[in-house]
């Protein structure tokens, strides 16, 4: 059996193309980029060896601290929000809507497929204050609350950003989590009900423990995506007001391509990659543990 399933030639044929493309297009450029971290300059002015200067600058740059804090804040808040709401929706699908959930699932999933540019434009219009109020401010006025200039202060801009990404991704996480929930055998619920468990207690003692693996994957999946946030920030706030909503990815892009500081930009990318790699190892560990369990 192992002769067939361990045939080196077959492994090479099956794995080879993917590994080759992946190595050439992802791994090689990554290490190439890492090489830039000890240089300063850009393709126009040429590169100059500066040793560890970039890392010293990295440690002392207040904008890095701001961007890092923003990135982490965004990742944590959005992960809690999108997995939380996704889970809530999934629970509604499974226990409330049951068979009728297909239409709702389809509807809630739909925003996932829209282009970022379009969604950002939509939210800008919904939350705008000038020259005329957007829908949100109109509704606030109806309730007797004065209009809010949503994009003028860091906190409200952050809120709109979170709302936008929540709107976009909630349905996706709902379906992912739904997949985990429908697999829970019905007789488990029945026996729990017979023991007198119901409502919240049922969820807490039966549903959450049993769907923990899929919940964990979703969280890790979400953290990864949110740490690398780029498009939605760029399209919605452009990093503003000031640089209060600038994540590491955007700061890195600006540093490299707008300010022409490749070396420094690569150092920022390295920082981000290290953060992401820590998450990778975490994901890998947890998925392996799960494998040995099952």
């Amino acid at each position: 059996m192992n002769r067939v399933l361990g045939d080196p030639r077959a492994i090479l044929v099956l794995l080879g193309p993917a590994l080759l493309v992946y190595t050439l297009v992802m791994l090689v450029p990554i290490f190439w980029s890492l090489g830039y971290t000890v240089f300063e300059g850009n393709p126009i002015t040429g590169f100059e060896f500066v040793g560890l200067d970039n890392f010293v600058a990295l440690a002392n740059d207040p904008k890095i601290a701001d961007a890092l804090v923003f990135t982490l804040k965004y990742a944590v808040v959005l992960t809690i929000a999108q997995v939380g709401f996704g889970y809530l929706l999934a629970l509604i699908y499974v226990f409330w809507l049951r068979k009728a959930s297909s239409l709702v699932r389809t509807l809630a999933f739909f925003p996932v497929v829209l282009p970022t540019v379009a969604v950002a434009l939509l939210f800008q219009e919904l939350f705008k204050i000038a020259p005329v109020n957007g829908l949100v401010n109109d509704l606030l006025n109806l309730a007797g609350i004065p209009s809010v200039d949503w994009f003028a202060s860091p906190d409200t801009a952050f809120l709109v950003l979170i709302l936008m990404d929540l709107w976009r991704s909630m349905g996706f996480y709902a379906v992912l989590l739904y997949a985990g929930l429908v697999d829970i055998p019905d007789d488990l619920f029945e026996s729990a009900r017979l023991d007198g468990a119901s409502g919240w207690r049922l969820v807490r003692h039966i549903v959450i423990p049993l769907s923990l693996p899929v919940l964990l994957s979703s969280i890790i999946f979400s953290v990864n995506g949110t740490l690398k946030v780029f498009d939605s920030v760029l399209a919605l706030t452009g990093g503003g007001p000031g640089n209060t909503t600038t994540p590491l990815t955007l700061y890195m892009y600006q540093t490299s391509f707008t300010y022409g500081e490749y070396g420094y930009g690569s150092s920022i990318a390295l920082l981000l990659t290290i953060i992401c790699l820590l998450v990778t190892i975490f994901i890998f560990r947890s998925s392996r543990r799960d494998l040995t369990k099952g």
Binding site: N42, I44, A130, N243
Partner: protein
């Protein structure tokens, strides 16, 4: 600048209708090996995707006055969106694959870097060789020299003066005379504000229309060399006389003279506010004439719009005669591909670009107009005359800054005006990126 409405039909793709395989094969063998280009086979021009007037003028030249040059070296236009333009230029320069002619990037620093790397044609010398020394008008030449440290290595395909446009009817209704000093300006703003009119319409989302005011204020108080001193290290933006300028603009915001939520107003909205009579004044460059001359957009009538230079500040070194000017995004020529055919193109370009651009696009350039253009709209005519009278011009706030400081200045401008950050903090942030 006249945007897509007047946009000519885009470059028609040669590959239309072919199947995927054919496309990929042909494209694959097509554009390769440009690494060590010497004699180009096309007059390649890389443009901002957003700017169509230069593309259209060049296309018009290639079928008209410059058809002989087109024969020898056909024009080939490619475009790149502004957002990724500098990046693209860096990538191309890194491969020694710069196009023959190209827009010189989002900030003047890009062209300076390219020139320092010996990648640009010395336009001054090239024009002299062609006997075209007078092709660039004096005002444009002085702006270019101020901008690029005394050298001319770009072609001023646009020349704009900047100042405050005002609504004559609103001024008359409220008994306001054209302000010549800062105090008169703020008084006028107060009067308009009291009458329920937004005094200034400004695009706070992009930020630069606000920092333009800071820059102009500095040129009026400290003099035309105010920002050169900062670059040379003889002064700092955090000095009290510099912070004063930021504070003056912040005060306008505090008084509500930009209307509510200036940070959320984008360019089109700002233009619209002025052109529907909601706002009394509008600081902008003369490229805006295209919008002013369009009756669709202009509800107050072109005859109702006046232009005034930025006012003087009492006791300041600068004067109203020093009009703020810029050359838009000038073009640069790649040294690597400069040869006989390209210099023939440059010759024809220098000769005809000014009048073709003004006549067909209504865009004022830094090139001498070799044949008079008839039937110009009166407002354009007036601005053109103003330019002819101008002997000394000043730049704008970020003109001499590196890209990082320029970005910091523009992204924080609306915060300065809304009071989210103090004038001191604003100037400190920008100065920090200059060091």
């Amino acid at each position: 600048m006249t945007t897509a409405r007047t946009r000519a039909r885009r470059f028609v793709p040669l590959i239309a209708g072919l199947g995927a395989t054919a496309l990929l094969l042909s494209a694959c063998s097509g554009d390769s090996g440009g690494g060590d280009a010497t004699a180009p086979t096309d007059f390649t021009y890389l443009s901002f995707a957003e700017n169509t007037s230069i593309q259209d003028t060049l296309t018009s030249l290639s079928t008209g006055s410059c058809s002989a040059e087109e024969e020898a070296l056909p024009l080939d236009i490619t475009t790149q969106p502004q957002a990724s333009y500098d990046q693209q230029l860096q990538l191309l320069a890194g491969q020694d694959a710069l196009p023959v002619l190209f827009a010189s990037g989002n900030s003047p620093q890009v062209a300076k870097d390219l020139n320092d790397g010996g990648k640009l044609v010395d336009v001054e010398a090239a024009l002299e060789e062609l006997g075209q020394t007078d092709a660039i008008i004096p005002a444009a030449r002085s702006t270019v020299e101020a901008l690029y440290g005394g050298d001319v290595f770009v072609l001023p395909t646009e020349f704009n003066v900047e100042g405050i446009w005002y609504n004559k009817a609103l001024f008359a209704e409220n008994g306001i005379e054209e302000p010549t000093t800062w105090d008169e300006l703020t008084a006028a703003a107060a009067t308009l504000s009291a009458a329920g009119v937004t005094p200034f319409s400004a695009d706070g989302q992009d930020g630069w229309p606000l920092t333009r005011l800071v820059g102009n204020y500095l040129f009026r108080t400290i003099g035309p060399d105010a920002l050169q001193k900062v670059i040379d290290g003889d002064a700092s933006l955090t000095d009290p006389e510099y912070v004063e300028a930021a504070a003056a603009v912040a005060e306008l915001g505090e008084a509500g003279y930009f209307g509510p939520s200036v940070g959320s107003i984008d360019y089109m909205t700002a233009v619209n506010q002025f052109l529907t009579g909601e706002a009394g004044m509008f600081y902008m460059g003369s490229w805006i004439l295209a919008n002013f001359n369009d009756p669709e957009q202009n509800k107050i009538g072109a005859e109702n719009i006046g232009f005034m230079p930025f006012p003087e500040v009492e006791g300041g070194e600068g004067s109203r005669d020093q009009l703020a000017a810029n050359v838009g995004v000038p073009l640069a020529l790649s040294e690597a591909s400069y040869g006989e055919d390209v210099s023939a193109w440059l010759d024809c370009f220098a000769e005809n670009f000014g009048s073709t651009s003004l006549g067909e696009q209504g865009v004022i350039t830094g090139f001498a107009v070799n044949e008079p253009v008839e039937d110009l709209p009166p407002l354009t005519q007036a601005v053109q005359e103003r330019i002819d009278q101008t002997t000394q011009s000043v730049l704008w706030f970020e003109a001499l800054f590196n890209a990082k400081a320029a970005a910091t200045s523009q992204t924080n401008a609306s915060q300065l005006v809304t009071g989210a950050i103090s004038p001191e903090e604003f100037m400190e942030m920008v100065q920090a990126d200059l060091n």
